[in-house]
């Protein structure tokens, strides 16, 4: 019954074993058509037609078909009688590639203006071999240089001129690391493999924040997940803990301390988030490493006091100003819906709806687990601890996003528990359709929320070329004036220039720029006392003005037209997507 003898004398594998192997191989099958459909969907994307509603306005049905196949394949594998983690991992990796690889593969240019700025810090280290903690512009990066020093290493060793090739595929790289980190964290919370994988899946499906680009936050977030995950796995007090010899535990502690030390020198916020999370876990006796929160706190504070003190002195006013004002810190994160375009308003509403849905699911999951007799105190603590930071700082109007980002893994775990509250060999009949439905809803929201600002994040080739030209020809100490900072900037010898964006000027200056652009720009050049000045306007800047309402719709395009007619500005390049003008001093004009 269990097997038959083969003619050559070796026992043939049993039918059951062959069937099991075939089932496992068949589990991988959906990944192939999904990736083929995805590749096909990239062929004819009309990037120029991206609307205020983001990338979803141009994505073809084949893209969504690829996602649907991955959801179906993942859910089928998750609820198979025997869970094959390799199959789940393949679907997860394919999902990351499809969602986060689409902009990288389709655009052909580096996405998001902040990523260009971060490439500029790598460029600085490449040229100087050091950082300048006293530098006035982008000083925080010079005071927490861990990520940038690290990124300079592969850039140089790979023989690249700059970090742009490295930065272009960063979202895929970091999201894969996030997925592995969340899975480790979930496995430190439960022994239920299905629940851990569904938590990872839900995390990826609801991580719309976009902190996966080339930035210190992405690296330090992965290391945060690693520290918490290894801490729970090897030093946790739950049944999910792995028993290990003393030497192994000592080695893990050494790795954790080294990682925390590096995080402290890499990012301003994450070391404190990490110290808070570890403190909460120790106070409530969820992990045994009593000294680790102290080590994390000392390292975080020591870096600020000894290595970043200059930066702190220069920025103490807003740090102190935002302490103890949680309402202001939270509300400063949210965009003003009254001024935004219709598309941006809808996207913002989807952002908020998706966030609320995840929180609701997490609450339902916590309740279902509680009723089943399981209290996931570690998950609750990890979800709640980041919210304390809202009281401490506005973090450049980003605090609420960062808090959601850090709280998301434990919330995704609890959300998954809403579908799979208790571990069973055969989950309930409703669990499978529930997992598929929730996945579809989350991913639908993710596509709108994560891709919702792509009109502001995608830079056409002409725009990149115009910016590269500007940085090639601009003299040292030149003033670079732009409509907004939403363009490829500060990536090449960035410290040599002074920067002004009309959108960041006081309302009176913005009004003057609209009323009489040439005179207003002359006044800005006079104010800076710059010997040389340039004005750059790009399609993405125009889009930002029109979408955010920081200036009246169409006003930047009107300013550009007026400047183009003025003898005080000589056009160096002028295409549909970008224009660069050189300011001509009065005598010459």
């Amino acid at each position: 019954m269990s097997g038959t003898a083969a003619a050559d004398g070796f026992p043939a594998p049993s039918r059951r074993a062959v069937a099991a192997r075939l089932t496992r191989v068949a589990g991988y099958a959906p990944v192939v058509p999904a990736l083929v459909l995805w590749a096909l969907s990239l062929r004819h994307l009309e990037l120029d037609a991206i609307s205020d509603f983001g990338l979803v306005s141009i994505l073809p049905p084949s893209f969504y078909a690829a996602l649907a196949i991955l959801v179906a394949g993942f859910v089928a594998a998750l609820f198979a009688s025997r869970v094959h983690e390799g199959v789940l991992a393949a679907h997860t990796a394919a999902f990351v590639l499809v969602v986060h690889g689409t902009p990288s593969a389709a655009y052909g240019t580096l996405r998001y203006s902040w990523a260009w700025k971060h490439a500029g810090i790598v460029d600085y280290i490449q040229r100087h071999g050091s950082v300048d903690p006293d530098i006035s512009f982008l000083g925080a990066y010079h005071n927490w240089p861990g990520f940038f020093a690290l990124a300079t290493l592969p850039t140089e060793l790979a023989g690249w001129h700059d970090a742009i090739p490295l930065a272009t595929w960063s979202p895929v790289f970091f999201e894969l690391l996030f997925a592995a980190g969340v899975l480790l964290l979930a496995k430190g919370l439960t022994t239920d493999v299905r629940l851990a994988w569904l938590a990872t899946w839900f995390f990826l499906a609801s991580n719309w924040i976009g902190q996966d680009y080339f930035a210190p936050q992405a690296l330090s977030y992965f290391l945060y997940l690693t520290v918490i995950g290894l801490g729970l796995r090897y030093f946790g007090t739950s049944s999910a803990r792995v028993e290990a010899p003393r030497a192994t535990r000592a080695g893990v502690v050494a790795l954790l301390v080294l990682t925390i030390a590096f995080v402290s020198s890499t990012h301003q916020l994450t070391p404190f988030m990490l110290a808070l999370a570890l403190t909460a876990l120790v106070v409530f006796r969820r992990i045994e490493l009593r000294l680790l929160p102290l080590v994390a706190s000392v390292l975080a504070v020591a870096w600020v006091v000894y290595m970043a003190v200059g930066f702190l002195e220069n920025n103490l006013y807003w740090v102190v100003d935002s302490i103890g004002s949680p309402e202001g810190n939270a509300s400063s994160t949210l965009i003003n819906l009254g001024e935004a375009s219709e598309g941006m308003r809808r996207v913002a509403l989807v952002d908020r709806g998706l966030t609320a849905f995840v929180v609701l699911l997490a609450a339902v999951g916590a309740l279902r687990r509680f009723r089943a007799g399981v209290v996931d105190l570690s998950a609750w603590l990890l979800a709640a601890a980041p919210f304390l930071m809202i009281a401490a700082n506005a973090y450049g109007s980003e605090m609420l996003f960062r808090v959601y980002f850090v709280a998301l893994p434990p919330m995704a775990f609890l959300a998954a528990a809403a579908v799979l509250p208790v571990a069973r060999p055969r989950p309930s009949r409703l669990a499978r359709p529930a997992a598929a439905t929730v996945s579809a809803l989350l991913i639908g929201g993710l596509c709108v929320a994560y891709y919702g600002k792509e009109r502001l994040n995608y830079f056409p080739h002409d725009e990149v070329q115009a910016s590269r030209l500007l940085y090639r020809i601009a003299e040292p100490d030149a003033l670079l004036v732009s409509g907004t900072y939403d363009y490829p900037w500060a990536f090449d010898r960035y410290e040599r220039y002074h920067y002004v964006a009309l959108s960041r000027e006081p309302a009176a200056v913005r009004r003057a720029a609209i009323a009489d652009p040439v005179r207003a720009l002359e006044a800005l050049v006079d104010r800076a006392g710059a010997g040389h000045a340039y004005f750059i306007v790009t399609r993405t800047q125009r889009a930002e003005v029109d979408m955010t309402g920081v200036m009246p719709r169409g006003s930047l395009a009107a300013i550009e037209r007026t400047v183009a007619r003025s003898p005080r500005f000589r056009p160096l390049v002028r295409t549909r997507d970008a224009a660069v003008f050189r300011f001509v001093p009065e005598r010459t004009a």
């Binding site: 592969p154 790979a158 792995v242």
Partner: protein, 112 residues
């Protein structure tokens, strides 16, 4: 066999990465150096911890690699002695030391 294969593979990988870094820029150089930086330093030290399973060791390898790369690079930058060749040399040293440690440990366990 595997106790010998990994450290020897690491030593070979370190040699390949060193040679690649000195070669003209191109996809092969980029691939060799990126793979080395993402995995080799971690693969040199994490197996010494004897972590069980697949996920925790794999994640620890990548995290340890990035942390060791970062600490070496950051130290050189802050000390104003930045040199990509020196950074690579130090990481090759870490990798070689870890590989040697694995070989010694493997030999000891083999004897006992």
């Amino acid at each position: 066999m595997t106790r010998v294969a990994l450290p020897l593979g690491l030593l070979a990988g370190a040699a390949v990465a060193s040679a690649a870094a000195a070669s003209p820029p191109g996809p092969a150089r980029a691939a060799a150096t990126l793979i080395f930086l993402a995995a080799a330093p971690g693969l040199a030290v994490v197996p010494l911890l004897r972590l069980e399973g697949v996920l925790a060791p794999a994640l620890a390898v990548v995290a340890a690699s990035l942390v060791l790369d970062g600490i070496v690079a950051e130290t050189l930058v802050l000390a104003r002695v930045w040199s990509p060749a020196l950074a690579l040399g130090l990481l090759v040293g870490v990798t070689a030391a870890g590989a040697a440690g694995q070989l010694v440990l493997g030999a000891r366990e083999g004897r006992s």
